[in-house]
């Protein structure tokens, strides 16, 4: 068995560092990445804990296969209590940092405390140092990394915050490289609150594989399988921008804070293709979905130009690429930034906030406004200081403003899908553990136009073929949620995961083979599905402890009350009554109580 994983507990206050082997029975139960992170969060988070206090544990956990050449084994999860939603935050990031962290000898860091003055962590071949971050504090994401590379050599990998994290913006992110972002939930602010500017990894340690030869053969086979997929080919050419093309025809693009549901053709993938110099990969990834754009940065992804572009009514792929570059350099989560700015624009239009507060006119379609707000938020300047509070700003602006914020459980919606036409997507963002988010369970297969038999085969039950129907949709979310939780424990990207964008790609069987040849651990499809379920349940239990149960599994008011005005989705909205019945069916399928919480027996079993 190759299950020697190493966890480092780092207390920045006392400067104490303890390194120990991750207990094998925990690895077997939760594998790694998101799974093990949730185990620790469940042990450590309390309702009283202030997310910006030294007590909040920031956990950085590489996936079980991260750092190996399994396809797209690049991912790492950053987790803590969220300063944005006050429930758990968990953000998954690609790039090269996670792999380098593993090759430097560490699989998981649990960081608590607060340093007296700004520091960074240096990880190298089994050793960790807390180093002075003088000369780095005050810099944004690109400069921080450039400076560190100048000082420490170009073969390091860095995860860091920009000025937004230093200023405790509640949706500040952690970035590695030019664009890869552990975006959701404000983990950059958690780092900032600890005076932790960056984590640097540099390592040459091997990862032993249980059966290296078979692992390599499996990699070749799976890579070839992936490359035959049309979706992979398209992602490799235009990245996630392709999703806009499909969505805009349906009328499922969040536009102008969801006052509309479709936007213009200037954001089509063909336009973004013109902005790209080259496509890039994360570690070990054969998909290469990331643009190196002509404007000095990388990206954008659909959720970024969807929320900061269409969401704010801003046209133009060149403009969107530029705004994306600014947002990344400042270290902000683009999904929250776009959602919060578009919310503010609507509030201004409605007279719920005034020029006296904002200091200028807010209107949709104003690219310069969006850009300057990103800076103001980062610097907490003027009204930017209010917007930096994300959904917490409701308490400053008045309860009435809450109706217009596209957020659930305090987290602004991540992707740019308007869910009024897509009932399963609506259920997905309502129940997602970390708040309004597509990466936990998006049932994309529903909109790919697959024959009903194919869908029924995948889900193992008869699925209602109409995306606006409520019947059977609990099965979709349940299925996707389990497999995405499993893939998040392994450290593989969702873009190679069955179900996320295609019915093909890597499924439980492929995971099982990679795990066996990688670590020697033999797991069945059912075992892996159970691990996924375990994590989803544990996340529910964490939230329940923090005071958030099924009552919070709801949608922004607009999606219930205002019919979508445009295109195929025209006239559609979510029916409250049918939606709450759907929620109950989903809880029943998960074996949860009618309050949407795992049972007492289940809780004891998981502890």
């Amino acid at each position: 068995m190759y299950l020697n994983f190493s966890t480092a507990e780092i207390d920045l206050s006392s400067k104490r560092i303890e390194i120990h082997q991750t207990p094998e029975q925990l690895v077997r139960k939760f594998l790694g990445g998101r799974g093990l992170n949730m185990y620790y969060l469940y042990k450590l988070l309390t309702k009283e804990m202030d997310p910006l206090s030294p007590d909040n544990p920031l956990i950085v956990g590489a996936g079980l296969l991260t750092g190996t050449p399994a396809p797209a084994a690049s991912r790492t999860n950053f987790s803590a209590k969220s300063p944005e939603s006050l429930i758990f935050a968990d953000a998954n990031v690609g790039g090269f940092f996670g792999a380098e962290m593993r090759h430097s000898g560490f699989d998981r860091l649990i960081i608590t405390g607060k340093a007296d003055s700004p520091v960074y962590l240096y990880l190298e071949n089994g050793r960790i140092e807390i180093r002075d971050a003088e000369g780095l504090w005050g810099l944004n994401v690109n400069e921080t990394q450039i400076k560190l590379r100048e000082k420490l050599g170009s073969d390091i990998e860095v995860a860091c915050i920009g000025r937004s994290g230093e200023h405790l913006v509640r949706f500040a992110a952690v970035l590695t490289g030019v664009k890869n972002t552990a975006g959701r939930g404000g983990l950059g602010a958690v780092m900032g609150s600890k005076n932790l500017k960056a984590i640097v990894a540099h390592g040459t340690r091997d990862i032993q594989l249980a059966n290296a030869k078979q692992f390599l053969e499996t990699l070749v086979e799976l890579k070839d399988l992936l490359l035959t997929s049309k979706m992979v080919q398209t992602l490799g050419r235009v990245g996630t921008t392709i999703l806009y093309d499909v969505s805009n025809v349906l009328g499922t693009v969040r536009t102008e804070n969801s006052l509309k549901n479709a936007f213009d053709d200037s954001l089509l993938s063909s336009e973004f293709e013109k902005q790209a110099d080259k496509m890039l990969s994360c570690f070990a990834c054969p998909v290469h979905c990331r643009h190196r754009n002509k404007h000095g940065g990388e990206g954008p992804d659909y959720s970024t130009f969807g929320t900061l572009g269409a969401g704010c009514g801003v046209s133009g792929a060149d403009v969107a690429a530029d705004i994306n570059n600014v947002c990344n350099d400042l270290g902000l989560d683009s999904s929250s930034a776009g959602t919060i700015i578009s919310w503010a624009i609507e509030l201004y239009q409605r007279g719920l906030i005034t020029r006296e507060q904002t200091g200028r006119e807010y209107r949709f379609g104003d690219a310069e406004l969006v850009k300057s707000l990103l800076h103001d938020i980062t610097e907490r300047r003027g009204f930017g200081n209010t917007l930096a509070e994300s959904t917490r700003a409701v308490s400053l602006l008045g309860e009435e403003t809450k109706d217009y914020v596209i957020a659930i459980k305090g987290l602004p919606q991540s992707d740019s899908h308007d869910v009024r036409y897509l009932v399963s997507f609506a259920l997905g963002i309502a129940v997602a553990g970390r708040g309004a988010d597509h990466l936990r369970n998006r049932p994309t297969l529903e909109i790919l136009g697959l024959p009903p038999e194919a869908l029924n085969r995948i889900y193992g039950t008869t699925i209602h073929p109409d995306p606006t129907a409520y019947e059977t949709k609990e099965h979709l979310v349940y299925y996707h949620e389990n497999i995405y939780a499993a893939v998040d424990t392994l450290g593989l990207c969702k873009f190679v995961c069955h179900g996320f964008n295609s019915p093909h790609m890597l499924d439980y069987d492929a995971f099982a083979r990679l795990i066996e040849y990688g670590t020697g651990l033999e797991l069945s499809k059912d075992d892996l599905m159970e691990i996924g379920k375990r994590i989803v349940d544990l996340e529910r239990l964490i939230n329940a402890r923090l005071g958030v149960d099924g009552k919070y599994d709801t949608l922004p008011r607009r999606f219930f009350d205002d019919p979508a005005p445009l295109r195929v989705a025209k006239g559609h909205k979510i029916d409250r009554e049918k939606f709450s019945q759907l929620l109950q069916r989903y809880y029943a399928l998960r074996g949860w109580t009618t309050d949407g919480v795992p049972t007492e027996e289940r809780r004891l079993e998981l502890e």
């Binding site: 792999a99 090759h103 990862i207 692992f215 110099d277 890039l280 994360c282 990834c285 290469h288």
Partner: protein, 149 residues
């Protein structure tokens, strides 16, 4: 003559090639230990693939006083590990940084000892190709110790 021909312009930087090589040569997964190396600078906006050019007049062979490097019948520069004293003269002599001492072994591309190049098998972009020409251009003299092996 045989060699790996690369095109850094289309390389996406994934490092799968390096790990395929580290598995083949050392039996472990390590993106820093292949005979083929990838360097990336996201800010200079550059990816670079480094691998042995199988030079016609190889500086590494010239630099080795132990006869540990030689041309095989395809003019591929190969290492005789047991003859190598790990002095590093070849490492210094190579103008491409394509030969390195890793874990007490001399690592350079030998085209997977004339099997299938594993780096090429895992690359998703075509940035790695196998160049094969029928005529062996190296003269017997240039082939060095091949005759005495």
């Amino acid at each position: 003559m045989k060699k790996i021909k690369t095109n850094s312009k289309i390389c996406t930087g994934c490092s799968l090639c390096t790990m395929a090589c580290s598995i083949t040569k050392l039996g472990v997964a390590n993106p820093h230990k292949g005979a083929i190396a990838i360097s990336r600078d996201p800010w200079k906006r550059k990816e670079k693939i480094t691998v042995c050019e199988q030079c016609k007049k190889a500086k590494c062979i010239e630099a080795c006083s132990e006869g540990a490097l030689y041309y095989d019948e395809d003019a591929v520069v190969r290492v005789k590990q047991e003859a190598c004293t790990k002095c590093g003269a070849c490492v210094d002599a190579c103008p491409f940084e394509a030969i390195r001492l890793i874990d007490d072994r001399l690592i350079k591309c030998d085209l997977c000892e004339n099997g299938t190049p594993q780096c090429l098998r895992v690359c998703s972009t075509g940035a790695i190709q196998l160049l094969e020409t029928q005529v062996t251009t190296a003269s017997p003299a240039q082939r060095g110790p091949v005759n005495v092996v």
